[in-house]
Homo-oligomer: 115 residues x 2
DNA sequence: TTGATATATTCCGAAACAGGAATATACGAT
DNA sequence: ATCGTATATTCCTGTTTCGGAATATATCAA
């Protein structure tokens, strides 16, 4: 089997840096396509295609407004990523560091056993 | 240009579900390859290859122990993902929802203007 | 209708991955 | 040295992707 489709899940969709930048822009509010084009300096067809991927995983929604199409972020769909990575947060937090070094200390205090 | 390499950054490396599961396992502590193989029911060569990708982006580290190779998670490298997605957190939080509806109310109270 | 602006879609080509199978390497035990 | 276990690497192939250019669609204006 080949690589996982970019529209398979949110993780894959967000793997592409330009798509992350687009999402970052949309965090400030809905924008027409050409606004994204100008701000990110990405050719318009590419922006439309990236938006298509983001729409496929429901990370953005569209609203027609005249001849413009206003895209807005559907942030809740980022939550699976947030939740997944949050499960690892304790592993790099300061408190955990202290706990780890504490355990190290305990281990050092154990009586040396012959191997 | 073709697709972004999976070893290009942490986002791409983590886009693959099996790699996320491997990282989840390693969150409990270091493990030899065959332990991952047995727990996740993934053929050994594939596990080795996935571990190779994770190693390339420094998400895991290896330690030789006899004929085993003990892999452990380098959780700090997940932090860029955490930080990136945390920037969106307010957009789906309850407090933000209240703020948003508050703003909606304010907008409704504005005097209707002729277009 | 014709034209202009905004956006989407299609076709192309060059990567690059993920799985499968087979094989190679590394290390320990006898 | 030889065998067995643990792990890594190679080769192959189907599939997907991204970018680029060109083109198509949609909507508004005159």
């Amino acid at each position: 089997m080949p690589r996982l489709a970019t529209t398979a899940d949110v993780f894959s969709a967000v793997a592409e840096p330009r798509r992350r930048r687009i999402l970052g822009l949309l965090a400030d509010g809905e924008r027409p396509v050409n606004d994204i084009v100008r701000r990110l300096r990405i050719p318009q067809p590419q922006v439309s295609k990236h938006l298509g991927v983001l729409r496929a995983v429901d990370l953005v929604t569209v609203r027609g407004d005249g001849q413009q199409r206003l895209y807005s972020l559907n942030a809740i769909r980022l939550r699976p990523i947030h939740d997944w990575v949050a499960g690892f947060e304790r592993l790099w937090n300061e408190r955990f560091d202290r706990l780890a070094s504490c355990l190290d200390d305990l281990q050092k205090k154990e009586p040396p056993r012959e191997s």
